[in-house]
Symmetry: C2
Subunit: 190 residues, 2 copies
Amino acid sequence: MARTGRRPGQTQTRADILAAARNQFAARGYAGATIRGIAAEAGVNPALVHHFFGSKDQVFVTALNLPFNPSRLVDTLLEGPRSRIGERILRLFLGLWEEPVTRLPFFALVRSVTTSPEVADQLRQFIETAVLAKVAAALDLPPLRVTGAAAQMMGLAIVRYVVRVEPMASATEDEVVALVAPVIQHYFDP
Amino acid sequence: MARTGRRPGQTQTRADILAAARNQFAARGYAGATIRGIAAEAGVNPALVHHFFGSKDQVFVTALNLPFNPSRLVDTLLEGPRSRIGERILRLFLGLWEEPVTRLPFFALVRSVTTSPEVADQLRQFIETAVLAKVAAALDLPPLRVTGAAAQMMGLAIVRYVVRVEPMASATEDEVVALVAPVIQHYFDP
């Protein structure tokens, strides 16, 4: 028999932590939930939550099956010249939507956010504290500018991948980058 | 008794036409449905559909309870200097979202589009033929640029009004216009 690389007890514990996390985030929001509270509900030591996931951000990303990791986003923003930050972040974002493995959770997320005020609420707190605040600090920008860029990228995904409006849906990645990267650059490099 | 200004028979006929229109748009899409087919399903003369609604666009807008009228959009685009088109269209759009009477149908529309592939399909055809093509023709622009602007405005509405991410949710209209109008201008006045 093939080995899965993880003992069943660990798999179960990890699943218990994620179930407890979903409850805690739903009950208290992203800002109100704590690693300690999640561990208590799962009946494990808080150190074990850290061991499996590292941080509250990562527990949230895993529990809600989010298709991106905000730390990776900040790394991408900072890993090249500021003058090409618009293109860099846009290509990362388009890549996530082009890959079925990340696109499907994105679709599910868009549906949940627009139909469930509770999910919208959790996601709002997560975006504000774990994504926008970090990006704004890393780039030394007013947070409002960062929400402008987020709005452009979210709307692009809806027009191109959800509603699939032509000619945006069939445009090549290079065509989209040529049109939209200057806009992201406008927000991130005023 | 107060008069409603419309005889009961007319109100019923109008409702029958809208019900038939919803069926026809669902079955054939926006592009495939016709005034003639809608009239046939409602059991009325096509001239009566024209009398009540004017055009297929307007039947669609009324049947789906859309909170805007694409003809009004084109009028707004053209009614002032091209150098301020970004601000003009953005203020019109924000005004629709600030008014409860138009915001609630917008919310319902966002939910339907993200949860129902059929509604997304109908709306896509409508946006492509009745909105984007007209705007692109009126401004002599490649349609791809118009979809970029549409993406920015749709994403802005989701961040500001649906998910309500701060500080975008609480920013004043003038702050939003100062940040985002140059982007719409970039798309519409390259």
